[in-house]
Symmetry: C2
Subunit: 434 residues, 2 copies
């Protein structure tokens, strides 16, 4: 079966993924190519705020934006909601769940997903948070834990339900731990006056010697300080090695009793079958040259989280963050235009605009070039940058309004179990997740 | 197993259901009783706007409100997320999914659910819209239909995917039909320029001789006119009798080819086992006396949709609407207080504050006492009344903001398939609804 899009005189670029890189590509290729965008959802997700969806701070609908709406009125643009399943390189064809499509240029911008490094028990029992539906599952799971803690007569079970272990001390883990700590401090005790919140423990477990290891040491130290001030237990040089649904094992010996392990300790690229297997990397990322072109191809590009580009400044690839994806998306669009015009392509040069993470109310760390800031100013910058990066005016206003209301009331308004979460075990026993 | 709530010197009222009636009861009984509220969700739902969630106009999180947050700081108040399963009258005990609980007074305010009048094929194949998750399923289903219509090569299937049949011409059916017609007119053609929207048909099928049969004739006529102006086909004196997933049969002979039948043609009370079976009604409503007390009991009350009270002015019970629920909730609270004080109880006297329905932009019908209005003024009143009735300041602001943006841009922003909808058949074949 073929995906039915009109044949026009323009060459066709097929893009897999409507994330940060994908939307840049569509914008910059518009008018010069026929563009076909494939995504498994019909919306763009602003991933940096998923943790606020998971912790009841904002509604999911405000951090996503319909892809069709985003590209409304674009000529020679076609969106198809589908999953890419493979590449037939010799036929210049992408295979998807709804049929095949020929391309002149193919861009793989499929992003990354949670990586459990092959630990199946961990995967079966822990909560990931890489998509809106996973963030909503986590929101339901957290709230259900407290409803369950209220009705159990087993003190051990109650403690497990009120204990959270987060594996991974990168920005996601740090921001989640901070948000959970604020729920514990300001919100949940009012909702559950019958529970003793001294029992609620939040553990952040990081394999490296410090949290936010990609940032400067001062940021790591400060954010660990902020977390500890909020009551989070921070464990560094510690790797989660096993979890059976009740007990987390770290470094093979340390144990945490918990019913909720949130896994933010690794991601891997959403790679596609059909590329040269000798280039395959274990982490699913696709090796590309300095032009974002997949090695040993001339019409396939890979950008964003999924692209692995070795550079002198980044010997093990660029960080898997939005800024890299945006810049690679723009560059790949430019290089495709140049390639079609038989011009030489441009090499990628990452402009690191800085990085930041928020821990809680008035507490963030930010690094912009050589300027470093911790605390209130960093927090204001964090909010401004994130607000401006959300797609859509309506979304920005609603998120800002939520933040203002939450700030004034020390509250998180979205404490809703709209679709109860069921673990895989429960799903097997009771049927579908409704 | 028992539900564990502290024993205090106050008598205990157990309320089943946190809808319009339930929240009035909690508010009015507060301080005078120990109040235990049971609900299967942890939030109150503003049902009159579910149709806007289903048609991508507003986010679900803005029409629901966490029950724990609503009653924050209430003393001797306990919420439990659970499903009521039965009543042991002799032991004054309510049975629930998480255990039993003794009551001094029990109030059944469990509302109503979709009624298919025993037609199992209809139930298996049509879409209900009585809860937030059902409205979200409908939103996903509608958007998925257009994604599918785009990729099918079968013209018959495409027409079925673009045809909507709504059974039931009450306020829900009328408002849904109008909202779908506006999606067709202003929104979807921009999203799907490749589809021919002359193929999109919306049929509203009503068994009575007119839509909005509970309202005045002028309102029925005007709203039918509004609907037809928007391109909706209105079929009166016609009852849907069968649906196999492809063909709707009405009056045993008329056929509509569609992949989506929305069922808004009947509701029945969410009754509980354990009441006197000789009082049981086929529609699941519970017969109550003029004090909202369940017949032949003295400590069980029923209020709202589930209560069936015969009155001279309402020989077949009161309409199953929010106003009745709110007024019955208040009265039942007062009567419980009076009963505890051994005072005589008050009889219910329904104050009909009017009724209204919106069809689309600037188009609504409203009846307030003897005053009737159709068009723009009615539409403004409809918006004001609904906005003021939504629980929570944040929710009101966000809904108003969505309405303003949608009005200015002729848009519906929430066109998101966050959790794809799968029919029961698909769920059976492919596993859970994720």
């Amino acid at each position: 079966m073929l995906i039915d899009v009109p044949v026009v005189s323009l060459p066709r670029v097929v893009i897999v993924g409507g994330g940060f890189a994908g939307i840049q590509l569509v914008k910059h290729l518009h008018g010069k190519f026929q563009v076909v965008l494939i995504d498994k959802t019909n919306f763009h997700t602003f991933q940096p705020l998923l943790y606020q969806v998971a912790t009841a701070g904002i509604e999911p609908d405000s951090i996503v934006f319909p892809l069709r709406k985003l590209f409304k009125g674009y000529r020679h643009f076609h969106f198809r909601m589908a999953t890419a399943t493979g590449i037939k390189r010799n036929e210049k064809t992408l295979c998807t769940s709804i049929g095949d499509i020929r391309y002149d240029y193919l861009v793989i911008a499929a992003g990354s997903d949670t990586n459990y490094f092959g630990m199946e028990k961990l995967m079966a029992n822990s909560m990931p948070m890489k998509s809106v539906s996973e963030a909503l599952d986590l929101r339901s799971c957290i709230l259900q834990n407290f409803e369950k803690a209220l009705i159990t007569s087993d003190p051990g079970e109650r403690e497990r339900l009120m204990t959270y272990v987060i594996a991974g001390g990168g920005p996601t883990g740090v921001e989640l731990a901070g948000a959970l700590a604020e729920l514990k401090r300001h919100v949940l005790p009012k909702d559950y006056p019958e529970l003793d919140f001294r029992q609620m423990e939040i553990h952040l477990v990081e394999g490296a010697p410090r949290v936010l290891a990609a940032m400067d040491k001062i940021s790591s130290e400060k954010s660990q300080g902020f977390l500890e001030k909020l009551g989070v237990y921070v464990w560094t040089n510690m790797r989660v090695t096993d979890y059976d649904g009740k007990t987390v094992t770290a470094n093979g010996e340390k144990r945490f009793e918990t019913s909720t392990l949130i896994w933010a300790a690794g991601v891997s690229g959403n790679t596609l079958p059909g590329l040269d297997p000798k280039n395959a990397r274990r982490d699913g990322r696709i090796p590309v040259d300095e032009f974002c072109r997949v090695k040993e191809t001339d019409s396939i590009f890979a950008v964003g989280d999924i692209a692995y580009m070795e550079e002198q400044a980044w010997p093990s690839g660029h960080p898997m963050v939005a800024q890299v994806a945006i810049q690679m998306g723009k560059l790949a669009a430019e290089n495709i235009i140049r390639s079609a015009q038989k011009k030489t392509m441009k090499a990628f040069a990452y402009k690191n605009k800085g990085s930041m993470a928020t821990i809680g109310r008035n507490k963030a760390v930010a690094e912009i070039k050589n300027w470093k800031s911790q605390g209130f100013i960093a927090w204001m910058i964090w909010m401004f940058v994130h607000l401006m990066s959300i797609v859509g005016f309506r979304n920005r206003v609603v998120v800002l309004f939520n933040w203002v209301i939450s700030y004034l009331n020390y509250d998180r308004g979205m404490r809703l179990i709209i679709r109860p979460f069921r673990s895989r075990k429960e799903q097997k026993e009771h049927g579908s997740n409704q």
